[in-house]
Amino acid sequence: MTTFLLILKKEFRQIFRDPAILRLIFLMPVMQLILLPFAADYEVKNIKVGIIDLDHSDYARQLISKLEHSSYFRLAAYSSDHHEGLEWLESEKADLFIEIPPRFEASLIRENKASLQLFVNAVNGTKGNLGSAYTMGIIQQFNQEIRKDWFEFPKFNPEPFITVIGTSLYNPYMDYQRFMVPGILAVLLTMTGGFLSALNIVKEKELGTIEQLNVTPISKIQFILGKLVPFWLLGFVILTLGLLVSYVVHGIQPGTNIGNIYIFAALYLLAIVGFGLLLSNFTSTQQQAMMVAFFFMLIFILLSGLYTTIESMPPWARKIAYLNPLTYLVDAMRMVLLKGATLRDLWPHIRVISAIGFVLNFLAIYTYRKRS
């Protein structure tokens, strides 16, 4: 036990002496948590919309002004020349354009129907999708308004309306920050817990210091634990810092179930630290470890449900996502921070993360033994 404490003392001394690591641990998470949630936002705003108006009627103007006043759109171009529209898309002057055909108003009044044409630049899929959806919504609304204008007099509406009034639970304003902050915090925890510990072990190999340590009575278990425990503890420091930032900057109140985050994070860090150890067993320089860590980090992030929902992934990706420990942390963080989940709610996640942690640590210790 004393030997173990000596090793811990040495590790902490080294960590706190390295300005790069300190910045990595304290400054980086805070900066990222402050800035990234504002940037990593799915909400597509400022869509540049172009109008080809071949009608110049009253209704056409009404529709244009409706589009103009929506916060999603910015009127970027206006023309009466049919050919210009495609040029706008080509030169990215506009993200989409609507063509109002000649006799739009006339056919609307006389024939009771009229058509509009919508062209969307779909290079950026999300932007294209959302842009056309928003446009559709606005046109629909416009449609209903003019119908009301006309059918005001009949007592009974021949075509009944179904109005849907939606209420967003847990995140009432559908605020993407609230959605992203817990996820980003989960990623930061993974970086320090898993990857810094791996780099630290590999550093001893690379510099040869492990050679000197191996001829001392320090056992392998003591050495490994001496490496993992500091990063396990630092994980809690980062978590606490991160929760503070999300409260102060993003106004996310952790609520009374905040302890559940710590309980879950303790298990998660155990699993991810095992992953770090596994990583260090198969690399011998910090550079190698960095590259491998980067590779896994990308997979972890993209297949964790942090940005895109797992349910919409293809089946093979879904399988990977369900094996990805980050998936469970991201979800658990959101559950606790946004829904105030109890331990009972988290129970399925706890079971899975414990199993993943057990397997990772088992593999890590097994390969560590085999290789030395």
Binding site: T3, K10, G208, E211, Q212, T216, P217
Partner: protein, 303 residues
Amino acid sequence: MISVSDISKSFGKKGEIKALSHINMEVREGELFGLLGPDGAGKTTLFRIVTTLMLPDSGLVTVGGYNAVKDFKILRSKLGYMPGRFSLYQDLTVAENLTFYASIFNTTIEANYHLIRDIYVQLEPFKARRAGALSGGMKQKLALCCALIHKPEVLVLDEPTTGVDAVSRKEFWQMLRRLKDEGITILVSTPYMDEASMCDRLALIQQGLILDQGTPDGLVSGFPDRLLSLATPDIYRAKAIVEKIDGVDDAYIFGESLHIKTAALNEKAIAAALAAHGVAAGEVRSILPSIEDVFLAKMHDVS
């Protein structure tokens, strides 16, 4: 104290790289034993096996009666090992490194201060400096201190003088002699032939084979033939001519002179042969072989 018997070790997937083959070596208690050989001879591999860091493919190593494979836990507290590469924490200070290594062996700097005093007084002015910022010679001294701080029975030093200036090298060997007087058995490797005379006994190693072992004098007197030396400005031509003379076993350039190993011929015969080819050779002298001559002769025999 250290007994190496029939140790073999190969590397590579199929064991195609033979690092050590059937090594036998005996280091007696309280002795300063040198392992002499060029780079890649297998010195570090042998040391790693002796210090329990590596498992041999076959053979048996015992240190102080303990098996290096089975009793590695006991041995690790009896051994002091200084790897060839500086292996202390560069981001910790001199004092922190030393305290750390003392405390993991459950001892203190004060308890064994007498062992390191001579070395540590030179380090003391840099106590608060990080190990990474020390000069090469100072790093070596710190590494030696850390290897000694738990009063090991056996000290194993892998090329401690490589890359160290001539004065510091001499000083280092003097320190080793003093440690030997304290009763510590020392096994040290070096690629420098001129350091052989500092050892009580030594083994010559080349390509994983022990060529010979014994005291420095014993090895030299075991040189079977006569050794002649000559100096000439036209040394490469002289070598080509001498090699063709009947009765010359070997001729090689040694510094600025040509060394000729021969059993049958004397100085005059060589001088006459060179004169016949018009090479102006200076005086051909009979000399006492050095360890390097012994080494080269043995290498010649093996190959």
